[in-house]
Symmetry: C2
Subunit: 116 residues, 2 copies
Amino acid sequence: MTTTEDQNEDRADAMFHALADRTRRDILRRVLAGEHSVSALAARYDMSFAAVQKHVAVLERAGLITKRRVGREALASGDVEAVRSVGSMLTDLESLWRGRIARIDELIATPTERNE
Amino acid sequence: MTTTEDQNEDRADAMFHALADRTRRDILRRVLAGEHSVSALAARYDMSFAAVQKHVAVLERAGLITKRRVGREALASGDVEAVRSVGSMLTDLESLWRGRIARIDELIATPTERNE
DNA sequence: ACAACATACAACCAAACGGTTGTAGGTTGT
DNA sequence: ACAACCTACAACCGTTTGGTTGTATGTTGT
């Protein structure tokens, strides 16, 4: 079983979308620094518990955090590997740029060459 | 003049939002690899010219690409520095996680210490 | 001069988003 | 037993998003 390209793009969509909200980024910071229950997180923000819970759910669906049940609490924890996988998508982009620069350098190295 | 934290968060919102669409990520790949006119880009996708133009505008507002006018064409080019700045936001997140791990290691190093 | 081309932008529309309140079910402490 | 607590989720609502078509304006080549 090999993951299709569409699945990767779906994952990228979900991850970047999850990161495109400052409340969610803030939640992610907290749960990367340590486990927090959903209600402990909710206490930090000026919005309803349900709103914060939705943000947590978005982060979880994107794979950026995981939750484990302990009694009546749901403890959320940031997944650093997922964060790194987003970073590697960006370095992949950078490598495209490097290819472009390499091509330009090539042109400079051999100026006014007979073309082909 | 120092940029406020809110402005940084606004930039982050815009950048992650811009990256949270596969068409826009694809456009960004192309213009990181080399300059392309908006209509040359539009020809690649199964949607209207106006739709692609909007995607380019979103990327431009986020600072991920720049455009320069050459005659009747607008040539778009990817800004690798902006891509790197997104990457550094992610490594900042990672460092929070490292702090957490450091704290755990500390606990393991000095088990059952008298608590202060 | 003028037709073809490239861009920009407004107006519109369905779908998704980010918030709300309300309801329901499992867990805990007394 | 039961009140307080934690979580989950549905229903609703205004705004934003991603697409469309249409129109206006500038540029190029013949």
